[in-house]
């Protein structure tokens, strides 16, 4: 059997692919999504129109989308940082929870004593430490025992979720509101520990979104402009060459995973400081920021700066999903669309590596 097309490996990757692939992926995902919608008896144009209206049209929609985009930007960066080294950290979810735990602790402990500006820093650092350490465990196992980081990081998501439940529902921990007897809830951090929200041209921009942008620039600089970033690149491309060059592979693995987890943890801190104001066990587990972050990073082709842009895009989609949820906009639809986007982004990579040529019919005479 002769296939109608053949793949030719590209010798160099043209620059225009960097934006063409994500755009094409999105369009293809929307087309596939339309098929799913049609097959289940919905009008795709109507659904997409409403998603756009609720996600992006006007300052109110945009404010909501940026709010939803903020945690995704952090978890997206978390996935992107690790993937740059060929490490698949799907533990962003658990590292995000741990960051939230750490930041809530800092907010509760120092909330009444420190000025807001210092509190933001203390909460961020605490969140990064918790998230970073949690991911570093995966890093140590990978570096010292060569244990597959994909499965361990995922298992640790479940463990972190159980830990959250323990803190809020099944114990009288420091994080639980003692006033909540019948309906257990987290203890709110003092008002002074709330992070700022700025208003720019009517659009509300939380401080943590700006922090995410700075973090993205920081990651970009780290990977493109420093010796460490160069070494990470060498390890990713050729572990053997890295060993010959005397690069310490195992400590680099641990550092990269810790950094990746610290970014997710910072997202958790932002979740507490800028948005929820307490450790919301159920809310965190229902959001699935970590998993969506993987979609964000993949569509951004693991580039930190594009990750921010894509986060706003996916944030808008998610935000519209929340706003529209109801009988004629079933939950799970947004997740399905995100999955489709991930598919098409993955499939789009084939265009980066290969040129697809038609096999001429005349050649296939041999019968």
């Amino acid at each position: 059997m002769r296939s109608p097309v053949r793949f030719e490996r590209r010798l160099e990757q043209p620059k225009w692919l960097n934006w063409a692939i994500p755009v094409l992926s999105l369009v293809a995902a929307l087309v596939l999504g339309a098929i799913v919608l049609l097959a289940t008896g919905k009008n795709p144009i109507e659904v997409y129109d409403r998603i756009f209206e609720r996600g992006f049209a006007g300052t109110r929609a945009l404010s909501g989308s940026i709010k939803t985009a903020t945690p995704l930007a952090f978890t997206g960066l978390c996935a992107a940082v690790a993937f740059r080294m060929g490490l698949i950290n799907i533990g962003g979810e658990g590292q995000f929870y741990m960051g939230a735990v750490g930041a809530t602790w800092a907010g509760l402990a120092f909330g009444n004593d420190l000025p807001t500006g210092v509190l933001v820093i203390v909460m961020s650092l605490s969140g990064m430490l918790w998230g970073g350490f949690y991911a570093a465990i995966v890093g140590v196992l990978r570096a010292k025992f060569n244990t597959n980081e994909i499965i361990t990081s995922l298992m640790m998501n479940y463990i972190a979720a159980i830990f959250l439940n323990y803190l809020i529902y099944n114990s009288t921990s420091y994080w639980r509101d003692p006033k909540s007897r019948n309906f257990p809830a987290g203890k709110p951090i003092p008002k002074r520990a709330d992070w700022n929200v700025y208003e720019i041209f009517g659009t509300r921009i939380p401080l943590s979104f700006l922090i995410a942008v700075m973090a993205a620039v920081g990651v970009w600089v780290l990977y493109k402009r420093t010796r460490f970033g160069f070494e990470v690149g060498v390890i990713a491309d050729s572990p053997k060459a890295a060993r010959y060059a005397g690069i310490r592979t195992s400590s680099t693995i641990i550092i990269v995973l810790a950094l990746s987890g610290a970014l997710a943890g910072l997202g958790g801190a932002a979740d507490v400081g800028n948005f929820r104001g307490l450790l919301d066990s159920k809310g965190l587990q229902m959001s699935g920021y970590g998993y969506t972050g993987i979609v964000v990073a993949a569509l951004a082709r693991f580039n930190p700066i594009s990750t921010i842009v894509v986060a706003v895009l996916i944030g808008g989609l998610t935000n519209a999903g929340f706003a529209l949820q109801g009988p004629d906009f079933p939950s799970g639809l947004v997740g399905t669309l995100q999955g489709l986007i991930l598919f098409t982004a993955v499939a789009g990579e084939v265009l980066v590596r290969y040129r697809i040529r038609r096999n001429r019919r005349t050649v296939a005479v041999a019968a």
């Binding site: 490996r9 060569n146 244990t147 994909i150 298992m155 159980i162 997740g335 993955v346 084939v350």
Partner: protein, 319 residues
């Protein structure tokens, strides 16, 4: 004697281990061909939701409905992994990311919950279930009764499959060729084996088994639909493939070990044993990590039987 704690744990280890085994067996078949399927969790959930739907809606006698539900769940799993095969084999994408895409697409907040929502699966119980039955009236016999003679039909199917798949992998020409494809597709191709066909077929069969594991969840374990009801079973199954050294027999034992861990919480709680439920809930996940560390550290350099080309796309042009 049959209410002895050990007997109960052993019986529920088999009951809860069976779906893990189906998914892991699917994983073995898929990975032996050199394709890594990280989409097992999502595939199981799609099998579970379609199976639950079928059980609620297909008319006819109870056994016919259950049989049809199993078939539909397996078909859903097969279709899902056909998509994976298209991405990994035809488009030669990164298999890790492609598998993750399947799990995110089909998983707890994706297509499976979308289907559950529009089909209103969660609104009623899944009445027509896969029930345990008493084999030859031996279910009451001491010790072995509840453990061996009082399980669901699928458990007995799984025992047949252990032997069948082991025979297929290690005693038939197809199995030999399959392993060749997983070890060195270049060599297999040179011998005239159709690498692409082998990878497609075995990925799809593996997906059907994952779907079967999913149906077991919605029809035998949990009587009503809950979004994301497999709770990481697909991922544990992936770890079990490694734990079982890519061999069905050892994997079966591993599945029962994890089945015991998963059921330990509810069993002990029913007995009023005073252990924190959270620790018991976390145990399977924690043990998966421990097991992975042990395996990867001690034998990492002595090859365990991982197919050499696992996860590597085959590019014929670059042979």
């Amino acid at each position: 004697m049959n209410s002895n704690l050990v007997v109960i744990i052993a019986a529920s280890a088999i009951f809860y281990g069976t779906p893990l085994f189906f998914a892991a067996l699917g994983g073995i078949i898929t990975e032996r061909s050199g394709v890594l399927n990280l989409g097992v969790e999502g595939t199981m959930l799609l099998g579970a939701v379609t199976g639950a739907w079928a059980s609620q809606h297909i008319p006819g006698s109870a056994w016919f409905t259950v049989l049809a539900s199993i078939f539909i769940g397996m078909t859903a799993g097969a279709l899902t992994s056909a998509l994976l095969a298209f991405l990994c084999v035809t488009l030669r994408t990164n298999q890790t990311v492609a598998g993750l895409a399947i799990t995110i697409f089909a998983g707890g907040v994706g297509l499976s919950s979308y289907f559950a929502n529009i089909w209103k699966v969660a609104e009623g119980p899944v009445d027509r279930q896969i029930r345990k039955f008493d084999v030859l009236g031996l279910g009451d016999s001491p010790i072995v009764g509840p453990i061996i003679f009082n399980q669901t039909i699928l458990t007995y199917v799984s025992w047949v499959l252990v032997i069948g798949v082991s025979f297929y992998l290690f005693r038939t020409r197809f199995g030999l060729q399959l392993r060749a494809v997983g070890e060195s597709p270049q060599t297999a191709d040179a011998m005239g084996i159709d690498v692409v066909k082998y990878r497609y077929v075995h990925t799809i069969v593996g997906g059907a088994l994952a779907g079967l594991g999913g149906v077991y969840y919605s029809l035998a374990i949990v009587p009503t639909w809950v979004n994301g009801m497999t709770r990481g079973a697909g991922w544990i199954a992936i770890a079990l493939v490694i734990f079982g050294f890519w061999r069905p027999g050892i994997t079966l034992l591993g599945a029962y070990l994890f089945g015991a861990l998963q059921s330990l919480g509810s069993t002990l709680k029913a007995r009023n044993v005073n252990i924190s439920g959270d620790i018991l809930d976390a145990l399977p996940f924690f043990m998966t990590i421990v097991v992975l560390v042990l395996i990867s550290s001690r034998f990492a350099h002595r090859r365990l039987g991982a197919p050499a080309s696992l996860g590597v796309p085959y590019e014929r042009e670059e042979r």
